[in-house]
């Protein structure tokens, strides 16, 4: 049984258990369960045990906030000695990373122990982690289904109880979608909050990094340990850390909460709207808030992704297109060709949308929307029926996350269960969305829902 990160850290700090024992247990669970899940691209047993021994021997151990906590990271994070694959075959040819990513170093500075790297959609361009090079990552709650993406390995490893904490990235939904489909808590902070130093990019204008965990306290603990400006990420905001862990107990009382309507209701299947309604009822709100131009904001994020994502890979698209995953290749090729006016206009529409949404946050603190339109589809699903239309399944999983990340709002995805009558064993997530820099409000509401028993992240049986 994998303990929560907060509990593990207390036990290791006090000496009740050793970091080595905790990490060995995690490695054993990974060895046993991963053949059926395919979350891990690399397991770093020797490094992890050496690091665990260092934590056990450290004179600082009793002050380490994440003492002995095993964690893993999406394989777009640099890990010293490994090529940073970013889900690709092409990057295998590149030199190994010289140094760990900054967020890995910050977690390890607090005593956490990196045990491995995790599978993802190639170059982060997907919502399902059906990676042709490495095989699909399977949903631990139903291995015939996708884990979501592009941080599918990150969500699956937590849902399977392999580690209590992972890191992923979110450009258009890649933390929130897999959190929803795998039934774990995920935090996409405000754009520019956590530095991306030492991670492989996808869309510099939209990339966020963030944690996955099985409790809100664990999410806050990890998030707090990773905060702080770093000038090497040009998008990282010069803001002082704003710790959240001690604020969770304030709960949701006194906060103004609303439900996002329009697009966020229309493009959701009954299980998704039912999840939001359950959260709204638990929080005592029936207030509906509608934003204008949500579909345009989604489209703007799509076009910015096209332009920047493809330009990044242009040299490889010219010289070795056949080495891309067929799931990404033709999209990258097409997207490289879009006229400049489309991407430029998209950035202007994005700014306008951000200003309008900021206005709405003058009278509300947290807004609710589904994290995904539906529960996890089976692996290989090509299309979904949403709002009376047949839509491509993979792209559609991000319909409800993309407008939010377009303007960099902080979001916690919280997992609910039993809302799909055809698949009652499956989870679905609800986005708790706040104004920029107000991760504390998202986390407080998440903690309140967890305390009420509305949300939980049990380990898959």
């Amino acid at each position: 049984m994998t303990a929560m990160a907060t509990h593990t850290a207390e036990q290791v700090r006090s000496g009740a258990t050793s970091a080595r024992a905790v990490v060995q247990a995690s490695l054993d669970r990974i060895a046993h369960s991963d053949p059926g899940i395919n979350a891990f691209s690399s397991v770093l047993a020797e490094r992890a045990l050496k690091r665990a021994d260092a934590v056990d021997a450290s004179p600082r151990r009793s002050r380490m906030k994440l003492a002995g906590v095993p964690f893993a990271v999406k394989n777009l994070f640099d890990v010293a000695g490994l090529p940073t694959l970013a889900g690709s075959k092409i990057e295998r040819d590149h030199a190994p990373a010289a140094r760990d990513a900054l967020l890995v170093r910050r977690l390890e500075a607090e005593g956490a122990v990196l045990v491995g790297a995790l599978h993802m959609d190639e170059y982060a361009y997907g919502f399902t982690t059906e990676n042709t090079h490495y095989g699909p990552t399977r949903n631990p709650h139903d291995t015939s289904r996708v884990a979501g993406g592009s941080s599918g390995g990150s969500s699956a490893a937590v849902a399977a109880g392999q580690v209590p904490l992972t890191l992923g990235s979110d450009t258009n939904g890649s933390i929130r979608v897999p959190s929803s489909l795998c039934g774990v808590f995920g935090l996409k902070p405000t754009f520019g909050r956590l530095p991306r130093t030492g991670s492989y990019p996808f869309v510099a204008s939209l990339d966020h990094l963030g944690p996955f965990a099985r409790s809100v306290a664990d999410l806050a603990l990890a998030y707090d340990a990773m905060q702080g400006h770093d000038a090497r990420d040009p998008a990282c905001a010069e803001r002082d850390p704003a710790p959240t862990a001690a604020l969770l107990q304030r709960g949701a009382g006194g906060l103004r909460i609303g439900v996002l309507g329009g697009w966020f209701r229309e493009m959701a299947l009954p299980a998704a709207t039912a999840a939001v309604d359950q959260v709204a009822e638990a929080l005592g709100t029936s207030r509906l808030v509608e934003w204008a131009d949500v579909e345009a904001a989604r489209a703007a994020a799509f076009l910015i992704t096209c332009a920047e994502g493809s330009e990044l890979h242009l040299d490889d698209l010219r010289s070795r297109a056949a080495d891309f995953d067929p799931m990404t290749r033709d999209r990258f090729l097409a997207n490289a060709l879009i006229p400049a006016a489309w991407a430029t206009r998209a950035q202007r529409v994005r700014a306008q949308f951000a200003r309008r949404v900021a206005k709405s946050f003058e009278t509300v603190d947290v807004l609710l929307a589904p994290s995904t339109p539906c529960v996890a589809p089976t692996i290989g699903t090509a299309s979904l029926q949403i709002a009376g239309r047949t839509l491509p399944a993979r792209a559609s999983l991000g319909l409800l996350t993309q407008p939010i990340s377009c303007i960099g709002l902080p979001v916690v995805s919280v997992p609910l269960w039993g809302l799909d009558d055809d698949a009652p064993h499956l989870p679905i997530g609800v986005q708790l969305i706040a104004a920029p820099w107000r991760e504390d409000l998202c986390l407080r509401v998440a903690a309140a829902l967890e305390a009420q028993g509305v949300c939980s992240a049990p380990i898959a049986p």
Partner: protein
Amino acid sequence: MDPTDAYVDAAAAALGLHIAGEYRSAVIGYFRLAASMAECVMAVPLTEADESASVFVPVAPLSDDEEQPR
């Protein structure tokens, strides 16, 4: 030839991108998808006061007493 197909061929050539025959149909399909997104975005009324969300921040040199990042 359909104008979109002609654009895809011409833009690919301008970028030095060779699109293999077996990829072309899918690439054109995805380009059309991007075009449908563009239709939505281009329809949003903007004025010249609506500037880009992407803002350049000039880079100043480090002063002697500024720390190198760890």
